[in-house]
Symmetry: C3
Subunit: 278 residues, 3 copies
């Protein structure tokens, strides 16, 4: 990546306060809104088909998260997504639970096929289900067999690059090691904390943060996504460092938002562990 690419990407978020329209699940939506505010963006949520086109129209980016999808919100996702596609807004797709139900797999696939999606953000099981390579998931968690490790990292990167080339999207596959790729380049990001799997919504928040970065950095979606993933991972590490003896996932959730809120471009450059893969 270019020198200071991460810092510049974060600075662009904080200086432009991008408005991001999110259609997301009701489990983690509050954390998603606060994560957007923490990183310097402004959140708007609306899933009613009769409302979403206007809301998308006043925003700069769109995040579609299929957790707790329903008939109405699916219609809302397509209506908002078509408007965002017309307007050239970046669209982030989070295929929560793709592979765990046929409705989720089909909906994620239809959204990807019909909208101008910029970024796909999910775990490896979801990404494989969406790419048609697998249908096994452990609910909304990654299957142990699918987890990205140092041993299978090159294969994971090759899969991500291929999926990115096929779809024209930036693909962010997150887990213990994160992989972010477009059709040509792939990066591994080794930030993060295992506690991020012990709070609900770390992935959903990251997808919204990706939306903020993509909206504020329209000319470089790959670097923007790497910066978003590294920011969330570094925030997780900072949050873990604050944990005291009585703290658990309640406090970690608070610390994670706090760390995003206080994240500084220079600290991001210094702390991000981003490596280009062959």
């Amino acid at each position: 990546m270019q020198p200071f690419a991460l810092k510049n990407a974060l600075d662009n978020v904080r200086q432009t306060t991008p408005l991001v329209h999110s259609i997301t699940n009701y489990v983690t939506v509050n954390d998603c809104a606060n994560a957007l505010l923490a990183i310097g963006a402004s959140p708007i949520m609306s899933d009613e088909p009769a409302d979403v086109e206007d809301i998308t129209g006043v925003c700069g980016g769109l995040v579609l998260n299929i957790g707790t999808l329903n008939e109405r919100s699916i219609a809302g996702m397509f209506a908002a997504g078509e408007r965002a596609s017309q307007l050239g807004h970046p669209i982030v797709l989070d295929p929560v639970g793709a592979g765990a139900s046929s409705l989720r797999t089909k909906t994620a696939g239809d959204l990807l096929d019909n909208l101008a999606v910029s970024v796909i953000r999910g775990n490896m099981s979801e990404a494989k289900a969406l790419a048609g390579g697998s249908a096994a998931t452990r609910g909304v968690d990654v299957c142990p067999d699918d987890a990205v490790t140092e041993d299978n990292l090159e294969a994971a990167a090759a899969f991500a690059r291929e999926f990115a080339a096929k779809t024209g999207c930036v693909v962010a596959i997150t887990g213990a090691i994160d992989v972010v790729a477009d059709g040509e380049r792939a990066y591994a990001i080794r930030n993060g904390s295992s506690l991020m799997g012990r709070v609900t919504g770390a992935g959903c928040m990251l997808s919204c943060v990706c939306g903020a970065f993509a909206t504020a950095n329209p000319d470089n979606c790959l670097d923007a996504t790497v910066a978003a993933v590294a920011s969330m991972g570094l925030a997780g590490q900072i949050a873990q460092g604050r944990m005291g003896g009585f703290d658990g996932n309640g406090s970690f959730r608070t610390y994670l938002l706090d760390a995003l809120f206080n994240l500084d471009g220079d600290a991001l450059e210094a702390g991000a562990k981003v490596a280009k893969l062959s």
Copy 2:
């Protein structure tokens, strides 16, 4: 205001534990419920048209918040609102995002026209959209041009008084400076913290708190609303005072609820910055 009006208004909430039915958005609903509990009220949420009349019937007040409105919840708002109007319960209307979409502007206007609304609580852009004077908003945030400042405070108060006179409601326009008015009197409230704009839901929570105060103080809706607005603003200041070096909007959200929970009538009298406007 009368001496001890603020303290009395808060004491009435704490002593009567008003049950407040809220139909509100799924983004901030948890914070709304906890804000009601913090101030001494008891929350109930229900938006299904077949359920809301019974629920309204066992409550003492109603809050209608149109964030994440949908076809079902709009029907629920009218059904609950008609029942509350029949029962003489105070109704608080929070026109979230009025002006940002035609559905929101129309729904807020229809609710106002058809129900016996007692209090309208929103930012200046939303209030102007509802009053028919403007259609510009920045999503769910106030347009910079609409923000109430010391320079335009008298004009803002005149607008609020006029809108209150026209609708028969108490109008609470909140921002850096809050204005609360009925058709005759207007107050400026200079409490609050800029951090309240960096967490989602400060406005939604305030609307619910207004519902608690209006329900517990049925004979003086204006003073009740001033007390609610001052309470939330003072809680914001107290929360800001607790912020440490690693704290961000995650901690601020927690501290805000804590401050509401611990707010005391004497502290409210001492800390409220309420000024009658000419």
Copy 3:
């Protein structure tokens, strides 16, 4: 109870990471998901009828909570419940607000009549409404006249045993004193904190925690439910013990999740106040 029954029940949750499908209200759903993660389970939420059967199929247990029920989620509850019944998964029913509206009373009754419910978890007013013995509630809170006290404890236990015998369920009636019974045995649990009534969702979280314990301890639903209720009560006490001078219900909510997260089987055995009733 058998020696170490509580510790064993908790250890089984932590060692098997049960996947629990919850169809629950949008007010407290985030806390429910984090409570499941805190106790060592894995949460999945889905309420769309076209999605729930697949989701139930990949899980091990089901929690049905009727707060903020609507036409869609009711259909989802029946579809998920029928699938769970076929699969022999434990089902926990939380009849939030039964007695407060006819839709809630009827829906809770229909779910109980048509599904293989394993555990009913509610307050005494809800339990009475569901048993047909009363229709009075104070919204989603217990009626003061219904509260379980030392004076009426034996009568409460007799009611719980009778209701359990009639339905074939384990019945958990929670409040200042908790009563858990099957058709033959009843236990009183005297853990907990009065602050649990000042945050939204303590009951909803407990129902999900009951789902985790029932799923991880399929051969002893009564002991599993006693362990779940004692765990939540002890977590409440630990959370209360952390409260500082500025803390309120915002901090208590965080501390409650933290205490569940850090709860240890030995500490549970040592701190649980479980008494067999005659």
